[in-house]
Symmetry: C2
Subunit: 285 residues, 2 copies
């Protein structure tokens, strides 16, 4: 097996393993102290068509629960030829439109406005080049409360360790990238309280890069479990819930107006259900 | 006064008059049989800046009521020089970026899922060319119910009269234009049950065109009053309200992903509050 094929296998299997692990952990929190059992629904999809150059598919997992009002955890591995429209727009496709992409993407919108919403995505892309990309960021309803700031501080601290264990100074770079990316120019405001964002990651040491990407996934579940624990018992009222709906409207605006993943998905006839799983259960304008 | 200046004055004054008239009529419905008085809030805005080529402004009117959960009725008259980005993309701006645009735009999201949401817009644009544009369309929560179909039939019939009084055969053309425009390709579904849409309207008989555009505005308020009357007493349950939230999510997707007015507004640093007034009070995914 060629090195690149081995790498593809390791990366895509890790994303699947991580999906399982995350869903199990979230189900444990969702059903703690309860007799009811709210589980993730699972839905496999494929974009394979005979004679088509669009191959691969994925698995969507969706939980609509009491703690997690809406949690979507998707993996996909797609490959084939890029459309003419996209050829050359992605590194390593200038002369050859062949591509392979695998990743995990999740968004969690908790019911309680005191638990921050969170997004995490990691991916491995192979064209004539190959690289990793990904990120995590949190979005509390009330970005300015002391509680939110304390949580953000803890969250950023954990991400800093994960990044700097991989490469010294990388946290600062990935944090700024995240702040720049999750920004709504028409509102002149950030989507949330940030985190990290990285793309085109290829240090020439594949194992080290893959290890970092795995650690981003692990940091997500480890920190989010603690964040939920810290906030789940905080009391809230109707005003807090309204603020959450308002914050979620900005989430919608960002995803539909600016998010590159959404645009890429729509332009490549991706799976609409999977692409739009990130959208909140309720939003208000 | 030059002809074109007289035309600008007549059109922009009509839009303001129509805004007043529509708001009064909607307030009458909103407060019928009630002691409370839910009125439109009014907010003027201007984009004038000293030495700037961006001139003009408008007035937003917003009602958050019991019958009309969210109703936005905006007028604006803006003029100056188009940005380099837009020069040449609008008819009559190939050699001269001067433009003048005036219009009224409204979106009503009623509280009852049995009353259809409605959108209406008419505008007059002057560059080196000049033309009218506009349209109306309705969006019932349940597009397939017998009640919705009956209402759509009545609504389309009234629009047909208004169009064909202006010009025989125009209804068919404007109806198709509306169906083509208010379509979500990623969902392979229409936004609602249609109506009419027209643009670049200039028949060389300005009075006749202006008269048609006025009649579109009048047809809106006359038919919508009757549609509300017909549906306001229809009982509904929680399931209907959920369907309404779902339908509204498609409204959001259309406006943020495809609507030309929204795109134009964002690209010209328009008034965000006015542009996004069309977004529903609550939507769910």
């Amino acid at each position: 097996m060629k090195n690149i094929d081995k790498n593809k296998k390791i990366a895509s299997e890790w994303f699947k393993h991580l999906q399982n692990h995350i869903c199990e952990e979230l189900e444990l929190i969702e059903n703690k102290n309860k007799k009811s059992k709210n589980l993730f629904s699972k839905k496999k999809w494929t974009r394979d068509k005979t004679g088509s150059n669009k191959l691969g598919g994925g698995e969507m997992r969706l939980l609509r629960g009491n703690v997690f009002e809406k949690a979507g955890v998707n993996v996909s591995t797609v490959f084939g030829q890029l459309s003419k429209k996209l050829k050359g727009k992605i590194p390593g496709t200038e002369d050859n439109s062949k591509f392979w992409a695998s990743g995990i993407s999740l968004v969690i919108h908790p019911f309680s406005p005191k638990i921050p919403a969170i997004h995490m995505n990691t991916r491995y892309i192979v064209t004539q080049k190959s690289w990793f990309g990904g990120g995590i960021d949190i979005t509390p309803s009330d970005k300015n409360s002391g509680e939110s700031k304390k949580i953000a501080k803890y969250f950023h601290g954990e991400l800093e360790k994960t990044c700097n264990d991989y490469k010294k100074g990388s946290y600062k770079k990935y944090k700024k990238w995240c702040d720049d990316y999750f920004f709504l120019p028409h509102r002149n405001e950030s989507r949330g309280l940030g985190g990290i964002f990285f793309d085109n990651l290829n240090s020439d040491d594949w194992n080290s890069d893959m290890n970092f990407v795995s650690n981003v996934g692990k940091t997500f579940i480890n920190t989010y479990k603690i964040i939920v624990q810290k906030t789940i018992k905080s009391p809230w009222n109707n005003k807090d819930k309204l603020l959450q709906s308002h914050r979620r409207s900005r989430y919608v605006e960002f995803n539909l107006l600016y998010d590159r993943g959404t645009k890429f998905g729509l332009e490549t006839d991706g799976n609409i259900e999977a692409i739009f799983m990130s959208l909140p259960p309720m939003a208000s304008w």
